[in-house]
């Protein structure tokens, strides 16, 4: 296949991925919106908790609460419908993920390099990392409730990338010709994707804990797990992403030493990745030792996520620094 055919294929796959994600998003939303009564949700709630703790070393399985088995026939019917929406959404999500992967691979083949040399490619790759992180969380912790929210983020990111940032396939500028792009940028992408999933869980945690405090019930939010579970999920995902982010920064510093002759020069990108790092470290610290817990810690983690987003959009478009591939 000629490079231009591959490039076209990549663009079509991007479109396909967006469409599939939109359908999956609707499916996940229906899954959240229909069916299960509170009792059901309650019963399922125990499940992710076990899974979360189990990751630390084989939790003890508990029998589901008694009221769960008392569901009437009518409810079971409703449940089947709802479960089917969930399955449908996951299936479409997986198809979208495949298209998304294909998009990145064909792009890389067409350009004959790592497909993250400009903002279009970079943002597409972050969206891919976020969806992948979600699928991992889905498999490990049965966190299907995050699906709708991650799909929204993925659709937004891919949409912004294709509409405003689109760049035709082309060679790298000399500044980016280095094997460090595979190390530094890949780490930044993986960490950003995972932080995004952590951010989604954190926002849901804040909403849910406020609701639980007020004793509110009803509506689609009943289908979410309890606040504690969400909080733990957010924590786990962030604990996973943080070392990768740290690694990305250190790799960036080594690369900067190689390319610009200094490992740290307070370039705007360096400043903001440092700020992001410190604030996430503050969150993890607050969570790991006594002191700030719960909502206050969650707010810190959202501040860190905001710094991360600002580093991407704000720094690349507002400031001129050495990371000036954004133009």
């Amino acid at each position: 296949m000629a490079d231009s055919d591959l490039a076209n294929l990549s663009d079509q796959l991007a479109l396909g991925a967006v469409l599939l994600y939109v359908v999956a998003m609707v499916g996940y939303a229906l899954d959240l919106g229909f069916g299960r009564r509170r009792a059901r949700a309650e019963a399922e709630r125990a499940e992710p908790v076990e899974a979360l703790v189990g990751a630390g070393g084989g939790g003890v399985a508990e029998a589901p609460p008694a009221e769960a088995s008392a569901a009437s026939a009518e409810e079971e019917g409703a449940e089947r419908v709802e479960r089917d929406w969930g399955r449908f959404a996951i299936l479409i999500n997986l198809l979208g993920w495949g298209a998304h992967l294909g998009m990145l691979v064909t792009r890389g083949l067409a350009a004959e390099r790592w497909p993250w040399g400009n903002m279009y490619e970079f943002l597409s790759a972050i969206a891919f990392a976020a969806v992948t992180a979600y699928l991992v969380v889905l498999a490990r912790y049965k966190a299907r409730f995050l699906g709708a929210f991650v799909m929204v983020a993925a659709v937004l990111a891919l949409g912004v990338a294709t509409i405003w940032l689109y760049t035709p396939v082309g060679p790298l500028v000399p500044a980016l010709k280095s094997y460090w792009i595979a190390i530094h940028v890949t780490a930044a992408i993986v960490a950003t994707g995972a932080f995004t999933v952590g951010g989604a869980a954190t926002i849901l945690y804040l909403v849910q804990s406020r609701r639980e405090e007020r004793g509110a019930s009803g509506g689609a939010l009943d289908m979410l797990p309890g606040a504690q579970t969400l909080d733990r999920l957010a924590y786990k995902v962030t604990v996973f992403s943080f070392p990768i982010w740290t690694f990305a920064i250190i790799a960036g510093a080594i690369w900067a030493d190689e390319a610009w002759g200094r490992y740290w020069g307070w370039d705007p990108k360096e400043v903001w990745s440092f700020v992001t790092w410190v604030v996430y470290a503050g969150y993890l610290h607050a969570r790991a030792t006594a002191g700030w817990k719960g909502r206050r810690a969650a707010v810190i983690s959202l501040v860190a996520f905001a710094a991360l987003l600002f580093n991407f959009f704000g720094v690349n478009y507002l400031f001129s620094g050495l990371h000036s591939y954004a133009g």
Binding site: A46, V49, E50, V53, G54, G56, G57, G58, G59, V60, P168, G170, P171, V173, P174, A175, K177, S178, W180, Q228, R232, V239, F242, P243, T246, F247, I250, A253, I254, W255, D257, E258, A259, W260, G261, R262, Y263, W264, G265, W266, D267, P268, V271, W272, F274, V275, V278, V279, A281, G282, L284, H285, R287, A288, T289, A290, G291, K293, V315, F319
Partner: protein
């Protein structure tokens, strides 16, 4: 372990760190010494270190928003010219030199002191804790965040022996009491924490040492030109405060050829750079052998402890200038400043102080691939490579002012309209090989051809290796400290009234309770008949959400 902590088991794990300073003070009123001690304790607490770290991050933010002198002095000047009232105020707060500002230094020096003051007593404390026995079992194990109890037909000795064995196998440190076993593990968490703090200290030291002992400088090298590493050759040189110029490594570099390639396919990317290579030869010592090297972006040369980087490149057109008497007053290549990367339209000046009777100067624009833009009746450059090199020039004569002793930029002519006057009809456009006769018999200028130059940065930073080691250590430490928790388990077995043995197990973990506790309980119970009617679980199991 102090007595106070032993009694207060509920928080003892958390307190081990702070105990060192805390037990000594607190008696009597607060004299000046008391306040000092209090201040020191505040400064060296973990929380203060964390807040200071936050402040460093916060303080660096204006440095990313406002232009900085260290990076772009011309933008600072521009900003000051545009913001006449706000600018000077920001300047007074050092906001254009954030990373060299006294307040920024104050924050990180405080952080430095705080870290040192925090980590040293903590390390001593931890060393002691690691060698002393785990604290004995508190009276009521059921009050602990994690607890369980059951009855069994085995006798107490058997159960305790099993517990010891089990806990040892799980790499707990175990101590025996009369009717109980105490165990503790997870010391690595604290070690990780201490490592992180020490590594942060090391990092700050390495950065400071590198900046003090090293140097950085810039040079411009035209094809065929050479450079020897001594102060006289640098266009710009910034030594560290403790740098000794006699220690400049005696290497030398010669630029043989510079090659650049660009995207030629028509389209939006036409003219984008693909590759630059500076083909150089260098010697480590004046009497050493000459070695070749391909210097590129992302491919610096390491020589004599210094590193040499390509910062940029440009064109240096060659000219011959004859003066009014017909003598050659100037011959050579003059580096021009690129105005734009995509087309490499560049500007520069040629100053001819040797021209007689009057000195000459030329202000020029250079187009590597000149084409006529018919619509605007202008010349533009279409491509960054020299396919049709062309210069336009404007001639001045008079006094260049070079004798006044004030240093001048090689890219600008000073004194236009004062000591230097434009020559009437002194403008021309020249292609390679063409000559312009300056009106009034003032001489001529010939555009002989084009060479390329590279601008190089040379630096020596002895702190880079230690800084990297410290950063890696800090990360390893912080990850360990986030993931490994100090935890204690106690098992007590006593004969009950019914003759069966009552086994009580209690667990205390800093942070979240772990599933490990449930595994231990399950393992201890394994030998008992499953339907043990007295089995009861209380408090927090793994599914419990309490985090105390």
């Amino acid at each position: 372990m102090t007595q106070a902590q032993r009694e207060d088991t509920g928080t003892s794990v958390e307190q081990t760190g702070r105990a060192a300073g805390g037990s000594r003070t607190g008696s009597g009123g607060m004299g000046p010494l008391g306040w000092l001690r209090w201040g020191w304790r505040q400064l060296t607490s973990m929380r203060t270190a964390l807040i200071l770290l936050f402040l460093v991050a916060l303080g660096s933010v204006p440095g990313s928003i406002l232009p900085q002198r260290g990076q772009a002095p011309e933008k600072v000047a521009e900003y000051l010219a545009e913001h006449r009232t706000l600018g000077p105020w920001l300047d007074r707060l050092s906001l254009f030199d954030v990373f060299a500002a006294p307040w920024f230094a104050a924050v990180y020096i405080l952080l430095f002191v705080s870290l040192a003051g925090c980590v040293i007593p903590r390390a001593r404390q931890h060393w002691r804790a690691m060698r002393s026995a785990p604290p004995p079992a508190p009276r009521r194990l059921s009050r602990l965040p994690q607890s369980a109890s059951f009855r069994t037909d085995r006798d107490a000795e058997q159960v305790l022996a099993q517990a010891r064995e089990l806990l040892r196998r799980r790499r707990f440190r175990v101590a025996e009491g009369a009717d109980s076993v105490a165990a503790e593990k997870g010391y690595l968490g604290e070690i990780g924490n201490l490592t992180f703090h020490l590594a942060l200290l090391m990092l700050l030291l390495a950065v400071a040492a590198g900046a003090m002992l090293g140097y950085r400088g810039n040079i411009v090298l035209t094809e065929g030109g050479a450079f020897a590493n001594s102060l006289a050759y640098y266009d710009q040189f910034t030594p560290g405060r403790r740098f000794d110029p006699d220690r400049l490594a005696p290497f030398s570099i010669r630029l043989e050829d510079f090659r650049a390639s660009f995207v030629t396919d028509p389209g939006p990317q036409q003219g984008q750079a693909l590759d630059f290579t500076a083909e150089i030869f260098y010697r480590e010592r004046p009497d050493g052998p000459e070695k070749p090297y391909d210097l590129k972006v992302n491919h610096p040369l390491g020589v004599g402890g210094a590193k040499v980087y390509v910062l940029g490149h440009g064109y240096a057109p060659r000219f011959t200038v004859r003066d009014g008497k017909g003598d050659v007053a100037f011959r050579g290549a003059v580096p021009f400043l690129p105005l734009e990367q995509r087309t490499f339209t560049s500007e520069g000046v040629v100053k001819v102080p040797d021209a007689r009777p009057e000195q000459l100067a030329f202000q020029m624009v250079f187009w590597p691939t000149a084409v006529a833009d018919t619509r605007n009746r202008q010349i533009v450059s279409r491509f960054p490579a020299p396919l049709n090199p062309t210069v336009s020039l404007m001639t001045f004569k008079g006094d260049l002012g070079l004798d006044s002793g004030v240093p001048q930029s090689v890219y600008r002519i000073e004194g236009i309209g004062k000591t230097l006057q434009p020559v009437r009809d002194g403008s021309a456009v020249l292609k390679q090989g063409e000559t312009f006769q300056i009106p009034g018999g003032a001489g001529s200028i010939t555009f002989d051809g084009v060479q390329e130059y590279v601008s190089l940065a040379i630096n020596h930073d002895p702190g880079r290796g230690p800084a990297l080691a410290a950063a890696v250590l800090a990360v390893a430490g912080v990850i360990v400290s986030f993931t490994v928790r100090r935890r204690r388990v106690w098992v007590r077995a006593v004969p009950g009234e019914d003759g069966r043995t009552v086994v009580e197990i209690g667990g205390l973990t800093l942070g979240n309770p772990t599933a490990e506790f449930d595994d231990l309980v399950a393992a201890l119970r394994r030998d008992d008949p499953p339907a043990d009617e007295a089995a009861e679980r209380s408090g927090a199991g793994s599914a419990d959400e309490t985090e105390e």
